[in-house]
């Protein structure tokens, strides 16, 4: 399924909620490189631990707004940086959750 369709599915499943995209990377170095390249292109991206909802191992991803994910993927293609996938999820962040690890 195309990324646009997957985002649309998540939007339908979570009406009214903000949707973020997690760009899954092969390793932390690729994540760092894509972060640098995306920021240099004026895009907003943050390095983040990969949410457990997307995979079964600790790992590094890029957190990107759904409106910018296509642009970030274009930057990855142009910079020859491998990407393993994109997972759209309803926003996982909550500054007032007060759950620490």
């Amino acid at each position: 399924m195309r990324i646009d369709e997957r985002i649309a599915d998540v939007v339908r499943a979570h009406p009214g909620e903000p949707i973020d995209c997690y760009v899954l990377m092969p390793d932390h170095e690729a994540a760092f490189d894509l972060h640098e390249a995306a920021r240099a292109a004026g895009l907003t991206a943050r390095i983040t631990p990969t949410p457990r909802a997307t995979q079964a191992c600790c790992g590094v991803s890029l957190l990107v707004g759904r409106d910018q994910v296509r642009s970030v993927l274009d930057v990855a293609r142009r910079s020859d940086i491998a990407v393993e996938g994109v997972v759209p999820l309803p926003r996982q962040l909550d500054a007032r959750r007060d759950r620490y690890c």
């Binding site: 994540a31 983040t48 631990p49 690890c101």
Partner: protein, 424 residues
Amino acid sequence: MVDRHPMWKDLGMDLEAHDQLCEALPAAFGDVFLTQKMRPEGMAFWDMVAADVHGIRPAELVEEKKKGRKVFGTFCTYVPDEVVIACNGIVTGLCGGSEFWVPEGEKYLQNDVCPLVKASLGARMGRTCPFFRLVDEIVGETTCDGKKKMYEIMATDVPMHIMETPQMKRPKDIDFWASEIADFAQNVQEVTGVELTAENLAHAIDVINARRRALARVYETRKNPDVIPISGTDALLMMQIAFFDDPERCTQMANKLACELEERLRDGVSVFPAGTKRILLTGTPLAIPNWKLHHIIETSGAAIVCEENCTGTKFFRNLVDDTQTTLEGQFRALAERYMKINCACFTPNRARIDEVLELARDYQVDGVINTNLKFCTTFKTEAPALEKALEDAGIPVLDIETDYTDNDAGQLRTRVEAFVEMLG
């Protein structure tokens, strides 16, 4: 995607239990760090390390061990990294900062022991931290009774060297600490098989002094009364990772961050609105991933601009005299620098009070929050004297005792918000 499970399995870790810790990290990290606005670009490096905290650096250590290098685990800012680095060893900080490890620690320790001590033992005995699995030796020190007795238990499971930390700061105590450093140097040479010389120790002193300068440079930008270029929470993450990262890379990344923060000062780019109350946090250390208090304070209307603790200024203040050319002179120089750290384990400890007052002035703070990990007797006992000195100096102070659990977060938030409101 890189799967770390084979490495963790090779290290003898309890994969099932460790997966529970991995599960908690993404949400906690996201809530604390990714909800912040205007974060410096330079934080990307520390975000990356934290995002794969049990993968990236442990994988590097595995490779270095294949080359024959030895890894020394430490718990305290008094242990001189320079000696290990001079003998081509690697230092990794081990203090446990997660509630996840506490129940395992309580299998061996009574529950009225500080959470840092319990978590540290739990991480080793429960086999749920790769750093604890990678160490060839753990270096303990006698800074508190809880750790001293915990080390006896840990020593049943891993080689241990204990340094006897003096409890006073008389000239003869500094002499004694120099002799303890000399004994430690002998131990490190035996473990690494590398001879310690005045030349390789001089180089190591330069490496660690450079790290101190770089971290201090980041802190220097936090003194500006009008612009706060980095949150306290981000600065804390940098400090926590400094304990286990390669020291030369740490220096490089901290200097890069400092450049960005200095530019922010010139451009007036602040991560908090003008008028945000400036807080100095003092007290017990905040080992990774203990971000609770910083996050609560900085989402309650205040900004932390300085940490006077082991994961703050104690780690980098005061350089080692680099002019000594003999091992004896260098051991003395190391002893003099490390004995300037004002831990509550010393008596008397007026120097810590004076240091907090000095930092409160330098960082132009509106108030001080004195925090104490539950059951840390020494820091708790000297809290009233510290608070009186601050009140006498006209600096409002809030005393907080907490642990690693989440269940007091609401109460803490209420108390911090009231304190910030009282600051006007």
